[in-house]
Amino acid sequence: MNPLASMISKRIMFGVLTLMAISLLIFVGVEALPGDLAEAILGQNATPETIQAFRTELKLDLPASERYFSWINDFVHGDLGHSLANGRPIAEVIGWRFANSLFLAVTTAVFAIPFAIMLGLLAAIYRDSWFDRLISITTLSAISLPEFFVAYILIALFSVQIPLFPCISTINDDMSFLTKLHAIFLPCLTLALVVIGHMMRMTRAAIINVLSSPFIEMARLKGISNRRIIIKHALPNALSPIINVVVLNLAYLVVGVVVVEVVFVYPGLGQLLVDAVSKRDLPVVQASGLIFAGTYVFLNLMADVLSMLSNPKLRNPR
């Protein structure tokens, strides 16, 4: 088999294994929560009979291993179970919220990634100039501040002082695309400020690292302009680390947005997760945990595959 294909299929297998391990961890973690679930939900005053009936209904009386496999089996078949809080199917509860979270993440990614890579390239081209230093300082400060702090500053500036954007980002299906964009502008900007810093700095560092290679000096001695050297000669050889940091930040955009969603009261999966934890709605916690994990594993798998594809030696075997 082609070495590339075999490497990729190996990675996919590892991805599936990782996911299995995570599902087990989530399940065990939830099992290990102190106290009895039925008591916690029905309250201290529930009679033993009610508690017993509740447990039977939720199949809590079955052994843990059996429950784990039936949970996974249902999950794989698309049945995420029912919420304890309101008895509705979890797929229904989670579905539109996950779509909202993805909408926020994708919108941010669409303008943050190209912008960050452009900035990184410019910083590498004009290395050690005032321009390089300025964006270094700006992005560093953006990374250093916690995201909720950035979020409140942005609200104070663009929602209170100059009321351009709403400070509560509620969206629903009746809104037009543009209105939605307007509504999520501030959370987007907050997330972008955090991820652009990472991606831009990694791009700059990866390019500068490649710039010390002999083939770059060769290109200079061939009389190639600095700009072309960076874009045509350095960038293709710096792709692997850049892809990795971009995908890591994408994963952050999907699963790490809990705080930002809470600040802007955005109806996403993160907000739901926080609610579910406080209400002890364990099936919802389990399901969202596994969805987050799945996204994470999938994106990392993409990073591995893409960086393999970016290597000309693997793409064109001898």
Partner: protein, 545 residues
Amino acid sequence: MGQVVDIQEHKHLLEIKQVNIEGYDGERWKPIVHSMDLHLKRGEVLGLIGESGAGKSTLGLAAMGYAQSGCRIVSGSIGFDGIDLMALSEQAQIDLRGSRIAYVAQSAAASFNPAHRLIDQFAEGPVQHGLMSYKDAVAKAIDLYRKLDLPHPEKIGYRYPHQVSGGQLQRAMVAMAMATDPDIIIFDEPTTALDVTTQIEVLVAIKDVIKELNTGAIYITHDLAVVAQLADRIMVLRHGKLVEEGDARRMLDNPREDYTRRLLAVRSLGEKKLLLERDPNVVLEISGVSAGYQKDVNVVQDINLKVRRRKTVAVVGESGSGKTTVARIVTGLLPANRGQITFNKKVLSPDLASRDRECLRRLQMIYQMPDVALNPRQKIKTIIGRPLSFYFNMKGKELTKRVEELLKMVELPLHYINRFPAELSGGEKQRICIARALAANPDLIICDEVTSALDQLVAEGILNLLQRLQNELGISYLFITHDLATVKAIADEIVVMYKGRIVEQGSKNEILQPPHHDYTQLLLSSVPEMDPDWLDNLLEEREAV
């Protein structure tokens, strides 16, 4: 050259005057090249000779008005065809580079961008300089690939650098330099990283194209024999200063300076071999060994060799012949698939992990790259002291005393004991590696290309040292090398390897005297000689056969 009176011929194409170049060593700027003058006529080949650190590469690059990062041209003038390069704007310099002055780097493998096809890298220069369309550049590339005798000239350009061999890549780089019909090409050690057999292909290619296109060339190398084949005139450099300059033939026949004479005289060992009758004691015996990096795929096959006490066995061959694999098998880094290794009359376990400490002690190794083999964060005392405490439980004063003895043995001053490897030169670092190997009181030392990363004179010092230690301590050496000059100097017995098999073995005299095995003949005849006509004669001979 010709007697035609032509103003163009007589005017210097390149004229460097009183140029001073400095390098930054992390603390301050230090001079690398001192007030050098250099001139080159159209169609002339100038050889720049010197050991590493002589400033020859720096001077060669200065001919393009270019200073490597960490270097700067402080003063002087660089005139190219009536243009003062130092006075030119950045953009004007870029316009000249790669169009009228081109460069061929030492390691083509590192100097080609791994992400682009060869032909695209060829075309980039001419297209970016606005001299040709991409289509014309491709046609020109194929033409040059054919001239340089590359296989499948129409197709080879569409390969990526990692898909062609080292010698082919080096020729592709020469082709790339010729893309724009430059007036001058700077060759910076273009054959140093190649085997002797491959070196000839590249030398011939370079010689032919230079002659055909009447290009001026600066040929930088540390190997006088190589430059003797190409250069009309030679400049010998040392510590950034000119030692001697003159016509190539005159310089080889009749060197004026002592340093040049020493460069020419290299490869004769000062330390005499102790000529004892054959010691019956066999230290190492390899019988019927085959091994490979995958199961069932053997890189080396059916290796049989013996190393006797106080003797040196040299394993020679081009890269990929499996000689380093043999060293790895003996050390146990690569367990053999088949066969047996006997060391001091005991059968060695093929796997390193299951060998006992005594066995590890008796078998030591010295590596090609002293820079990589020494931990940069450890002082010399720690480096040499480690085997002493590991094998002999030495501590404190006893250990310090022994380290000092060892330093004395490898002819280094005692105050080096508290230095870090970075504070030593390449040859001194290799001496530390030798001292570390000696610290274990070994019976056999495996020397893997120990002199190939060093300059000739320094290498000679190391070989002398190894010979003296053998005479005094009775150590045996298994010497892995591709350099036949080293072999001639130090070996008692020679093993010639080709494609993973031993093709010929015997005492030095047997192997070096005809008749030879075909491959040994090819290897021996490929070693450049100081005679300027050597390459031409060799080609005639080979064509005749």
